[in-house]
């Protein structure tokens, strides 16, 4: 009899998730060759991450920002608003360059959604920045210094009535919404629900419904893309994403400057708020892994990079809560696939404190030999494709770099070649050279 999910150990859960990903249900591959490639690629990535055995060769991943649009001669604006164009360009990018996985077509759309709700948090192509530019966040204190208690006490109510009204102009009236966690009986009903009758609140809901239509339309394209890429033999390298608690608060709630002040002026509240975020963001990762039958959940890291805080500050404010997210996912058999954007050389010793074969670390700017040494036998090391190499280097330099990475980090398995920072327009011949070199030079001898 099959073992029940709740009776499984984390290792069994992880293996079950990987098996589901290796053999996706109801897929009609375009050819037996595509099916063979899918299984080979997924197995290769699984072996590199689990480190139970050496893969057949080093896997190679490409995680682009708006690169596929530039690759096809289009602007970010074009693909943010034309979902079919986005699908076509992303497909062309992966089919031409042939890495071992695709990363969905999530980055671009749905452009119109942001227009409908008047998104304030970003400037995007054709809306605050040029059509040829990418979307970029506008930092600010979208949560005020004195609002920690409100966030800690009821994160959902805070997000609904304070954060969302500040980042979406059209949802500003949501600040009048009642807290439905206090509604349990007939008595007092009218007093609880009258805000839903107010004209501005109703107008906000109408906008939200309109935006929902657009998101659903986009999901149709997104789903079609995911399906087609699988049928073509590319596993999805990402089942969803979650974030480190410090970054959740630093990136778009308090802002970089705000949180740095809080580290000094109200450290205890900051810590309590990070604790309050944990269940939501662990659950988000698990839900997305379930929904997409894919164990790989990305966690992009930002404000704990080299220089952004001291070792002591990292150990106090950053690592303990990131680790809780990672272990929360790993307990459910999900792989936290860390994406350490920026430098991470100074954190390598601290992050060794993890269970074996349950996490993966993708680095942007790191001494790959040191990273391998620190994480050897603990976690799969992924990287690096330096941005300057991709943009201003030569194919020969790209080849030399890839070989060097394979020599120092590929030894014994547990290594994936991948870019560690989002990239837009680069020299395509450099990108192709790295992929080719890995396929040729990264083969493991039996």
């Amino acid at each position: 009899m099959e073992k029940k999910w709740e009776d499984m150990m984390p290792e069994e859960k992880q293996e079950t998730r990987f098996q589901k990903w290796l053999s996706p249900e109801g897929v009609k591959f375009v050819s037996p060759e595509a099916e063979r490639l899918y299984k080979e690629r997924a197995t290769r990535i699984k072996d590199a991450i689990q480190m139970k055995k050496k893969p057949d060769r080093v896997p190679v991943l490409l995680i682009p920002s708006f690169a596929p649009a530039f690759y096809s001669g289009l602007t970010p604006r074009d693909v943010m608003y034309d979902y079919e164009k986005a699908n076509q360009t992303w497909k062309k990018f992966y089919v031409d360059i042939q890495p071992d996985a695709h990363f969905g077509c999530v980055a671009p759309g749905p452009g119109k959604f942001f227009d409908i709700l008047d998104y304030k948090l970003y400037k995007w192509p054709g809306h605050g920045v040029a059509p040829e530019s990418t979307y970029q966040a506008i930092e600010g204190e979208y949560m005020k210094a004195d609002e920690y208690d409100a966030l800690i006490q009821d994160p959902t109510y805070f997000f609904t009535t304070a954060y969302l009204p500040r980042v979406f102009g059209a949802l500003e009236p949501f600040k009048q919404l009642p807290n439905l966690t206090t509604y349990v009986e007939m008595y007092g009903t009218g007093i609880t629900f009258f805000p839903y009758g107010l004209p501005p609140v109703q107008a906000a809901f109408k906008k939200l419904l309109e935006a929902g239509d657009e998101a659903l339309k986009w999901m149709g394209y997104f789903g079609a893309f995911m399906k087609e890429m699988t049928e073509l033999g590319f596993p999805a390298g990402q089942g969803g994403y979650t974030k480190a608690p410090f970054d959740i608060i630093a990136d778009t709630l308090r802002g970089t400057k705000g949180i740095m002040m809080d580290m000094y002026r109200q450290p205890d509240k900051l810590i309590k708020a990070m604790d309050a975020m944990l269940p939501f963001w662990i659950q988000k990762g698990v839900i997305e892994a379930n929904m997409n039958s894919n164990p790989l959940i990305f966690i992009p890291l930002h404000k704990g990079a080299d220089g952004f805080m001291s070792d002591e500050q990292y150990k106090k404010f950053y690592w303990p809560y990131l680790k809780k997210i990672m272990l929360g996912l790993a307990d459910e058999g999900v792989i936290p696939f860390i994406w350490a954007e920026g430098g991470y050389n100074s954190r390598l010793e601290v992050i060794r404190d993890l269970p074996k074969g349950k996490t993966a670390w993708l680095f942007d700017i790191v001494d790959i030999a040191k990273a391998k040494k620190a994480l050897d036998g603990i976690a799969c090391v992924c990287g690096t494709m330096p941005t300057d190499l991709l943009t201003v280097g030569t194919p020969q330099q790209s080849r030399d770099h890839a070989k060097k990475c394979i020599d120092v980090a590929g030894k014994g398995g547990g290594y994936i070649m991948s870019n560690g920072a989002f990239f837009d327009e680069v020299k395509w011949e450099n990108l192709k050279m790295i992929v080719e070199t890995v396929k040729e030079y990264g083969v493991y001898k039996k």
Partner: protein, 210 residues
């Protein structure tokens, strides 16, 4: 005995700094002397940052403390109280890029170190840099950028400076998360700084400040 403002600020003790400044102001001390001490404290902060004892949060926090001190002192300053500037710098985040955190930190540190900084903000077209250089006669230009797209904007900005016949009159530094020596060569800049203090060191060298 009154505590030492220089070291209290350097140690980032916000409340104590405020108290010392309040006491010194109410005892009728020359506000310029207080500001001078605060700037000396900031110099120590800069040194600690350069030696990796302090990091970005500490630098940003010191900026907030200095801001508080300046606000307390300013109403008592006479018009003659302006500090001497050691050189002019034109600074901005290049076209297509709106990242400002790194830029703001460097601008702040240059200001604290006595430079007159003309901050053009973010997403600055090449021509704006040229016009500001012409208007101010600044011999130092700082270009900031975070995106890969910024590499080309930096190159174009240096190109525009050259086309305006100003390339021999200015030194150009670039900086940002992904900037390396290779990008510096590509952009045609004179130097790159890996952090805020690097930027200050370059500016001081170019301005002949010891």
């Amino acid at each position: 005995m009154a505590k030492d403002l220089v070291n209290t600020l350097a140690d980032l003790k916000e409340q104590e700094v405020i108290k010392i400044v309040k006491d010194r102001l109410s005892s009728g001390e020359d506000p310029l002397k207080i500001l001078g001490d605060a700037r000396k404290g900031m110099e120590i902060v800069g040194q600690r940052f350069a030696s990796s004892e302090y990091f970005i949060p500490d630098l940003v926090y010191s900026g907030e403390i200095l801001r508080a001190v300046t606000e307390m002192v300013r109403p008592k300053l006479s018009k003659a109280g302006e500090i001497k500037r050691v050189g002019k710098v034109v600074f901005g985040t290049v076209a297509g890029d709106i990242h400002d955190i790194g830029k703001d930190i460097v601008v702040f540190m240059l200001d604290v170190n006595g430079f007159e900084v003309h901050d053009l903000g973010v997403d600055v077209p090449a021509q704006k840099f040229v016009e500001k250089i012409q208007e101010t006669g600044a011999p130092i230009v700082g270009l900031s950028g975070f995106l890969t797209l910024a590499f080309d904007s930096m190159k174009q900005t240096v190109g525009a400076i050259k086309a305006a016949g100003l390339r021999d009159k200015v030194k150009v530094m670039i900086g940002g998360g992904q900037i390396t020596e290779e990008v510096r060569k590509y952009a045609g800049a004179d130097a790159y700084g890996k952090d805020a203090m690097d930027g200050v060191t370059l500016a001081k060298k170019w301005a002949g400040v010891k």
